[in-house]
Amino acid sequence: MGLQRPRDRVCIRPLDVLDNFGPKGRSLTDIADRLDSESLDHVVIRFAGDSGDGMQLTGDRFTSASAMFGNDLATLPEFPAEIRAPQGTLAGVSAFQVHISENPVHTPGDIADVLVAMNPAALKSQLTRVRTAGTIILNTDAFDERNLEKCGYEVDPRTDGTLDGFTVHEVAMTTMTVGATEDLDVKKRDAERSKNFFALGLVSWMYTRPVKPTLDWIKEKFGKNEAVVAANTAAFHAGHAYGETAEIFGHRYQVSASPKESGTYTNITGNVATAWGMIAAGQLAKLPVFLGSYPITPASDILHELAKHKNFGVRTFQAEDEIAGCGAALGAAFGGHLAFTTTSGPGVALKGETIGLAMSMELPMVIIDVQRGGPSTGLPTKTEASDLMMAMYGRHGESPMPVVAASTPANCFDMAIEAVRLALKYRTPVMYLTDGYLANGAEPWKLPDVSTLPDISVSFTTEKNGVDDDGNAVFHPYARDPETLARPWAIPGAPGLEHRLGGLEKANITGNVEYDPANHALMTDLRQAKIDGIKNDIPEIEVDGTGSGDILLLGWGSTLGSITAATNQLRKQGKNVDRAHLHHIHPFPANLGDVLNSYDKILVPEMNKGQLVKLVRAEFLVDARPLSKVSGLPFTAEEIASSAIELLEANAEGAK
C-alpha cells in the first residue's frame, strides 16, 4: 500500500512528547491516535540532492531513528564515484533510499513513495524512481534559473505539468534554515549547509520518528564545533516545527514497529558486519587478525573499521598496492596469523597470482571481494555481482578454492566467520563475496549471543610427523589429514619443523620440489579433492516452499531480499513458487543437484549476465534460465516476479 493524499488537518504537539517515543515508551497505538496520524504498514522514502548536500548523512540518520524505533528496514545509498561532481548537475546527484515497515523488509523498495529533492537536478534524475501519485517535497530555494539550466530544464518543471499527478510540497528549505539560525553566531553560507537537517526534521515529523536520538547524535557528531551543533539543531527543529504548523502538511503517518524476535538489535551495514565478523573470527579461532589491504571503493570501509579495533590485537596493513596487500596477508598466514585481504573486482584481478600461490602453499587466508560494476574501473559506487566467474576460475592452472557469498548486510558477519572456518580447517584461501549493495546497505540485526558462536580454532603442528628413508623422524609438510586432506600448519618458531614452501610443484608428502608427471597429476587431484570434500561440511541448501513448486527461484548473494519479496508477491497471486538461496557456491551444497532436478522450471536472477546459471547448468545438466540485471542497481521484486510469470507461462506453450 502507499500513501494517501494528505488531508488538511494539522496537529501540533510539543517536541518533548516525541522524545520518549518508541517501542519502550508508552503504547504506540495510544500515541499514534493522540497524534492523529494515519497508520501505514510501510513506506519508501528517497532523499536526493547534490553530493555536497549531505543526503547520505540525512538518509543514514533517518534510518537509524527508524531502526531504533523498531521498524524493519532496508537501505540503498546511491552516490556518484566523484567526490564532488560539478554542483547542481545531474552527475552530482547523490541519493539515499530507505524502506521502513512494520513487517519484515526484504528490499529497499522497488519504487519510492516519497521523494525529497534538494535541487532541480535531484528532481530530474530521480523522478522516474517515484511511484505514480507519490509525494514530492522540493527545496524551492534551489529552483533558480541557473540550477534549472545546469540540469537541462528549459522550463521550470513545477509549472509545465511535469509533476502532474504527484502530491508536491514546495518548501523554502534554505530560506527557513537561514532564518532559524539567524540568532546564532553562524555565517549565512554555513547556515545554508544545515538545510539537510531541515529536511530531516520535516520528514521525521511526517513519519513520527523519535527526535531525541537525532539531536543526541548531532551533539556527538559535531560536538567539537558548537556553531555547527547549534545550526544543525536549529535547522532540525525548524523542519520539524514546519511540518507541525504548515497547513500543507495536514497529516502525518505512523509506521509501527515491526514485530521481531526478542533480543538486542543494532542497525548494521554489510561492510561493518564483515569487519566485525573478521574480528569475531579471530577471537573464535584464537588467532591474531592480520589484514593486508589497499584502498578501493566500495571495500575501504572494512579496512577503516578494522583499523579502529587494534585493541583486539588486529593488525591492519595498508600496502603499496593490491598485490602487496594480498602478499603481506600470505606472509602473515605463514607466520600463523589469521590473514585477510579486502578489495573489489579490479583488486581481485591483481591478487590472482598470489591467491594461486596461497593455494599451492595450502595456507589459510580469506580474500574478501566487495563486488562493484565492471569491467575495468566500471561503476565503482554501483553494485553488481559479476565477479563470480573470476572468484571461481580467475587464476592460472587448476586452482580450485572455496567461494562463499553473503546475502544480507547482517549475514556478512556470519559469512566472514564461515569463510574463516573453511580456510583454517582446510588450509586454503577462501573467496568471500559481498557487493556494493550489501556493503553500504543497512538492516536491523539481532545481535548474536557471542557465547554461542562456533569454536573454529585449529592447532599448529608442533611435532615431526614422518620418517625419512634412513628412519629419522622428520616433518612432512604435505602429509595430509586423511579426512579433510588438509596439510599440517607448522609455523616459524617450531624447532625441528623447518620447511620450505613454494609455488613450484611439490612432491606429495615431503613437499620437496618435484617435476615428476605422475606426482603433478596426483597433487592436482588432491588439491581438487580437498576442496570438493568441503561439500560434506557445509549446510544443505534449504528450499523455502513446498518442495514441489511449479518454479524454483535460485539465487546467491544480495538478491536474497528481492527474490524473497518477489516470491511473496507471486504467492499472493496464487502461484506455486519455491525459492532457494546459495551461500556456498564452491563447492555447492551436497543436495543442490537433487533440489534442482525436482523442478521443471528454474529461474536464476543475478546481477550479472548469467554466471551462476552457467555453473549450475554445467554441473547438473538442468535447464535453469538466467534473469540478468546489470544496471548498477539491485533487482526490484517486480522485475523478478514478472520474469517468473513469463517463464511459468512459457511452460504452457511447451517451451521446455
Binding site: 518508541g22 517501542p23 519502550k24 531502526a67 531504533m68 523498531g70 524476535e261 526478542s262 533480543g263 538486542t264 538489535y265 543494532t266 542497525n267 548494521i268 566485525w276 574480528i279 577471537q283 592480520f290 593486508g292 579495533h309 587494534k310 585493541n311 583486539f312 590485537g313 588486529v314 593488525r315 596493513f317 600496502a319 603499496e320 598496492d321 598485490i323 602487496a324 602478499g327 603481506a328 596477508a329 600470505l330 606472509g331 602473515a332 605463514f334 607466520g335 600463523g336 597470482e353 598470489t354 600461490l357 545481535l447 548474536p448 557471542v450 634412513d470 629419522n472 616459524p492 618458531g493 624447532p495 623447518e498 620447511h499 620450505r500 614452501l501 613454494g502 609455488g503 620437496n512 620440489v513
Partner: protein, 345 residues
C-alpha cells in the same frame, strides 16, 4: 644423523638435503656458502645465538630465488617480484623472526621494484639480498634493469636502449636506512656485510655483485678480479677517510654535493671525505653511490649507510599496546553493542 647436523656452529646444520641446482661456476654458490658460514657464527655468538627455527628466507622468482631451498631454515619461495611484500606481512605478524629476502635484479628492480622501495622506506625488519648479475638468467639471457645501455641479448639484438638503475642510489632514494655492497668472490667481505645488515634494526639492502657465468660471464671482472681490485674497489671504512689504489694514493672528496675520485697528492689528505655510515643525510650516501654508474668506474664496497630509525613492525606492535591501554582489551560482546542498540521484548 651425524653431529654436524645437530651442531648449529657447523655448516651442515644450515644445509638442506636438496641438491643445489645452479649452473656449475655460478656466483650464487659462493653467496650460499657465505650465508651458511655466517649462520654458524651467529649461532655461536652469545649475543645472537640465532636458531634455525627462528630464521626465514623469503624469495621471489629467478635463479637467486631458489636460495631458500638450500638453507635449512623456514622458507618461502614465492612469486616474481613479490617477496618484499610477502616478507613484510611476515615481519609485521612475527617481529620475533630473522627474515632474509633474496632476489635478483629482475625480481627486485623490475617486476618487484615497487615492493622493494616501499619495504625499504617502511623500515621493516628484514635483510634484502639483491643478487645483481645484470642479466635475466632463469629465462635464458634477456637484458635486465641493471644491464648497461647497448647490451646485446636475445631480446635486444641491436642493443638495449634504456638506461639502468643504480641499485644503491635507488635504495638511498627510497630512504633505506642500511645500504651496502659486496661481491661474490670475497666470502669474508660478504659475511662481514651480511652480519651488519642482519644486526640493523629495520630494512637493510645489500647489493651483491654476482657473476652469471652462462649469460653474462665476467661482467664485473674489471672491478672484482684480484688483479683489478686495488685500483677499482673503493673500500668504505666507517670513521676513516675514503682512500684506495694500489699505492693507496687515491681518495674520494665530496664537492658541491658530488663525490669525486682524486689523487691525494693533488688535494691533500685533509680534503678526503671521512666516511660516516651513521650520517642520516641521504644526499652524502647518494653522492657516494654515484661513483659507480658503470662497470668501468672505481666502485665503492662496504656499508654506505647504517642509520637508526623507528622500525615498522615494532611500531605496529606499539600501536596495539597503545590501543589496548586506551580502550582496554577487545570485548566482542561490547563491540557488537557499540552502535545504537534497542531491545525487543
Amino acid at each position: 644423523m651425524t653431529d654436524v647436523f645437530l651442531d648449529p656452529t657447523k655448516r651442515g646444520h644450515w644445509t638442506t638435503d636438496q641438491d643445489v641446482r645452479w649452473c656449475p661456476g655460478c656466483g650464487d654458490y659462493g653467496i650460499l656458502a657465505a650465508m651458511q658460514f655466517l649462520h654458524t657464527e651467529l649461532a655461536a655468538d652469545p649475543a645472537t645465538e640465532i636458531k634455525k627455527e627462528d630464521t626465514v628466507f623469503v624469495s621471489g622468482i629467478g635463479c637467486a630465488a631458489r636460495f631458500p631451498y638450500y638453507m635449512d631454515t623456514y622458507g618461502m619461495h614465492t612469486i616474481h617480484g613479490r617477496s618484499p611484500a610477502i616478507a613484510t606481512g611476515l615481519a609485521v605478524a612475527r617481529p620475533d623472526l630473522n627474515i632474509w629476502v633474496v632476489g635478483g635484479d629482475g625480481d627486485m628492480l623490475s617486476i618487484g621494484g615497487n615492493h622493494l622501495i616501499h619495504a625499504l622506506r617502511r623500515n621493516v625488519n628484514m635483510t634484502v639480498l639483491l643478487f645483481n648479475n645484470q642479466i635475466y638468467g632463469l629465462t635464458k639471457g634477456q637484458y635486465s634493469p641493471t644491464s648497461e645501455v647497448g647490451k646485446k641479448t636475445k631480446s635486444t639484438p641491436m642493443g638495449s636502449i634504456d638506461p639502468p638503475f643504480n641499485p644503491i642510489s635507488l635504495a638511498v632514494g627510497a630512504r633505506a636506512n642500511f645500504v651496502a655492497r659486496t661481491h661474490d668472490l670475497d666470502r669474508k667481505h660478504m659475511i662481514n656485510v651480511f652480519r651488519q645488515a642482519q644486526a640493523h634494526n629495520g630494512s637493510s639492502l645489500v647489493e651483491i655483485y654476482q657473476n652469471c657465468n652462462v649469460f653474462n660471464d665476467g661482467v664485473y671482472d674489471g672491478i672484482v678480479k684480484r688483479a683489478n681490485r686495488d685500483e677499482m674497489m673503493i673500500n668504505l671504512v666507517d670513521g676513516k677517510p675514503i682512500r684506495f689504489g694500489a699505492e693507496n694514493d687515491k681518495g674520494v672528496v665530496i664537492e658541491n654535493g658530488s663525490a669525486k675520485v682524486v689523487n691525494i697528492a693533488d688535494v691533500g689528505e685533509d680534503a678526503l671525505h671521512v666516511h660516516d655510515q651513521a650520517n642520516p643525510d641521504p644526499s652524502v650516501s647518494f653522492a657516494l653511490s654515484q661513483l659507480a654508474n658503470d662497470v668501468n668506474s672505481a666502485t665503492p664496497f662496504g656499508v654506505f649507510r647504517s642509520v637508526e630509525h623507528a622500525e615498522y613492525a615494532s611500531a605496529v606492535s606499539d600501536q596495539l599496546v597503545e590501543a589496548n591501554n586506551q580502550m582496554g582489551p577487545g570485548d566482542l560482546d561490547a563491540l557488537l553493542k557499540s552502535g545504537a542498540t534497542w531491545e525487543v521484548d
